[in-house]
Chain length 459, copies 2
Amino acid sequence: MSLPDALSFGLRGILETRLSLTAADRGHHAQSESFHRSGLPDAVAWPETAEEVAAILSACNDARVPVVAWGTGTSLEGHALPVRGGLSLDLSRMNRVLDIRAGDMQATVQPGVTREALNTELRATGLFFPVDPGANASLGGMAATRASGTTAVRYGTMRDNVLALQVVLADGRIIRTGTRAAKSSAGYDLTGLFVGSEGTLGVITELTLRLQGQPEDVAAAVCAFDSLDHAVECVSATMQSGIPMARIEFVDAAAARAFNLHSGSAMAERPHLMVEFHGSPGAVREDAARFGEIAAEFGAQGFDWAALPEDRARLWRMRHGAYHACLALRPGASGLVTDVCVPMSHLPAAVQAAADDIAAEGLIGPILGHVGDGNFHSLLLVDPGNPDEIAAAKRIATRMAERALAVGGTITGEHGIGIGKRGLMAAEHGEGWHLMGQIKAALDPHDILNPGKLVPDRN
Amino acid sequence: MSLPDALSFGLRGILETRLSLTAADRGHHAQSESFHRSGLPDAVAWPETAEEVAAILSACNDARVPVVAWGTGTSLEGHALPVRGGLSLDLSRMNRVLDIRAGDMQATVQPGVTREALNTELRATGLFFPVDPGANASLGGMAATRASGTTAVRYGTMRDNVLALQVVLADGRIIRTGTRAAKSSAGYDLTGLFVGSEGTLGVITELTLRLQGQPEDVAAAVCAFDSLDHAVECVSATMQSGIPMARIEFVDAAAARAFNLHSGSAMAERPHLMVEFHGSPGAVREDAARFGEIAAEFGAQGFDWAALPEDRARLWRMRHGAYHACLALRPGASGLVTDVCVPMSHLPAAVQAAADDIAAEGLIGPILGHVGDGNFHSLLLVDPGNPDEIAAAKRIATRMAERALAVGGTITGEHGIGIGKRGLMAAEHGEGWHLMGQIKAALDPHDILNPGKLVPDRN
C-alpha cells in the first residue's frame, strides 16, 4: 500500500524535512547485508524523540499503515525489510548516550547508538558493553533481534544485558519496562518480551544496559587441530570443565584460508580455535594453562598467543571480518548464512554433519561459530544467478535446522527470524508459535508493527 | 464460588481419589509461611501428569472456575492462596527428575521436585542447581515467582537458569517453550514470560534447568563491621571491583543476635558480611585476598574463615534459617518481610534509611539481604493482635518500596507480588501494568488462572 495523503500530510507536520518519499531513501531501506530483498517502503521517517515515535505510530495505527523500525541495516535475515510497504522508521538520529552510571555499571542510551559508539564513550570509565555481534549494529537493533556474538559465552546475550526499556506501543502509548535494579520479581518480564521481538510488538526508544568492568588481565590465543572433530570435541570438553572462557570460536579450514587471503594472516589451512581469557592475572594464567592441557589432549598445535592489546585487536578484527573474508573466497557470490545452536554434547556431530552435507552438495561453505554456546554458522557461497545453487544452499540450511531441532536445539542462535527463518517457526515452537501470534494480536490489534514477520499470518 | 456439581463429577473422573473436598485439605491450601491468609479453595486436586493438568484446566475453563497452582506453600507473599475460591492444584505429586544430561549441564524435572531433592540426585554428577532461595521450595514454584537468593549474584535467578518449559494454558493446550540450546533468537521469549508469572498465564508442568559444575575450590568467611554504613559501602566497593563473588550477604546487628540465640553462634552483635568464593584454587585465593583488602579499608574485623565443607554448610544453614531465627526474637510475633532491590550505588543510603525508619516506628526489624544484587529485606516483627503495629509495619514497607522506586529500583527483588505487593504494581510499572493485563486477557480470557493476582482487575 502507499501512504494515504492524509497520513503523509500528518507525518510531514510531525517530522518536517525528516520524512522522505524519494526513491533513493526508500531503496536504501529495502536492502540488507544478506541476500534478502523486499519491496520498497512508501516513505522513510527519521524521528528524534520518543514522543515523535508515539505520534507517528498513533497516526499509522489509525490509518492501518505498516511501520518497520530500522537501525543500521546490518541484520542478516531481513528483519527490517518492509514486506507490506508502509513506513520505514529509521532510528539513526536517536543516537545519544543519555546517561552513564559507572557506580551502577549501567548506561542508558537511545536505540540508534551503535555498539562501537557506546564503547568509545565508555573508554574513560574502565567499563565496556560486552555484547559483540561483529557488525557495528545499533543497540536498539541488537535488542530487537536478541543479538549475541563472540563474548556471549561469558557475558550473555542481549537478553542478559538489557535491564530496562522505553517502548512505544502500536497505539502510541509510551511504556517503561524493567528497572535499574539487578533483578526483580515484579510481574511479567516485559523487557524480556520486547528483546527479540523484532519490531513486531513495539518500537524501542531507550535502553538501559548492564556494563562490565574491563578485565584486569586478558590473554588470547589461536591453535590448530588435525580435524574438525578434534577441534569441536575440545570445545565440549573445555566447556564441561567449567573454565570461564571469555571467547571460544571455531573456524574451519576454509575459513582459515579466507582469513589468510583477506587479512594477510598465515594460518595453517586446518580447523582452529580462537580463545580469550578474562580475569585477575592468576585466574587468567590458570585458565589458560587448563585450556592448554585440554587442547593438547585433542592434539592442538601451533599455539599462537596474542600478548599485546593490538595483537588481540587484530585477531578479533579478523574474526569479525569473517563474513566478508569468506564472501571473497568466491568473487561475485552471495552468502546464505546459517545459524543453528545445539546442546553442547551434540555440537561435534552437528558440525560434522553440516560439513558433510555441504561437501555432498558441492558448495563452498566455510563453517565457523561461537561454539562455547553450541552456536555455529556456515556461510554458503552461491552464484546469485544460479537457481540450482540457491536451491542447494536452502536445502543445506533447512537440513541443518532440522538436525538442530532433532537434538533439542534452535533454528537460530543469534541472527533471529526476519524473512529467512519464518518458515521454520512452526517446526521449532509448535502450538507455542500460535501463542506468540495471540500476544502480537493483543498488543498490535491492527497488525501495523513489522507485519508479515515472526508470528503466523492472521486468519 | 463453590465447584459446580458437574465439574466436581468430571474432576473425580479424571483424578479419582486425588481430588479432595475435605476441610483439612482445603485449609492447608489456604495458609502460607507469612502472615497472608485467604479464603478456602473449594477443592484440592493432585494431578500426576501434564495431560491430567490439561484436562482439569479445560474443564475449569469451561466452567469458569479459578485454578490456583500450589507448590510447597513456602512463598512469602501469598501467591498460591485462592482469593476467589476454586481449585487448588497441588503439584507435589509431579515430583520426578525426568532426565539429567550431565554433558549438557542440564536437567529436566517435573514442577513438584524441590531444590534439595534435585541437588541430592545430582550429587554423583559433580553438578548442582545453583538457585537457592533458602526454603526447600518446589522448582515449579521457584520458576513461577522468579526466585533467587544468596547465589544469584554469581549464578543468576530463575530467569537465567530455566532454559525451557512445558506449560498448560488456561484452555488446556499443552505448549513447549524454549529449547535445550544455550541461547536462541527464535521469536518471543515465552520461557521468560512464564517465569515470574505466578500461575496467572499457565501451569508449569515441566522445566529444563541449567546446571553448574561444582566449583573446584570454595572458601567462605564472616566478618564484622563497626557500622551498617561501613558494611554496605564495602559491598558496593566489592561489586564495583569486579570480584566474582559467589555470595555476599549482609546481616545487621539484630540479625546477628538472632543467629546467636537460634543457632548457638557467637557473632558480635554488629553488622556482618557473609561471603563465599568459587573457582580454581588460585582464583579463590586471589579473590579472597582482594576482598580482604577492600573489607579492611572499611574496618572489617574478626574474619572467621569456614575452611571445611561442614563449617560452610553450618554457616549457610544459619543464614537460611534467618527468617525463623528472627521470628524467635519476639515470641508470638508475625513477620512482615520486605524485599526491595536498588541499583548498587543507592544501596548504602537505602539500607540506612530503612534502619532509621524502623527505629523511628519503634519496631524490631532485623535487616539482611543479598546485597551483591542490591536486594535486602527487613523482617518486621509485629504482634498479630495489634493493629497499630501492623499498620506501622505496612507504613515502613510502603516507604521502603517508594524509596526503592525513587532511585530506579524495584518493589520486589525476589519474593514476587502475590497478595502483598499488588497495590504497588501501578507505582512501579505505570502503563506497563496495564500491558501485563492485556497479555493476561489474551492468554486467559475467562480469568481462571490465579485470578485477582498480579495484573489489574478487569473492567
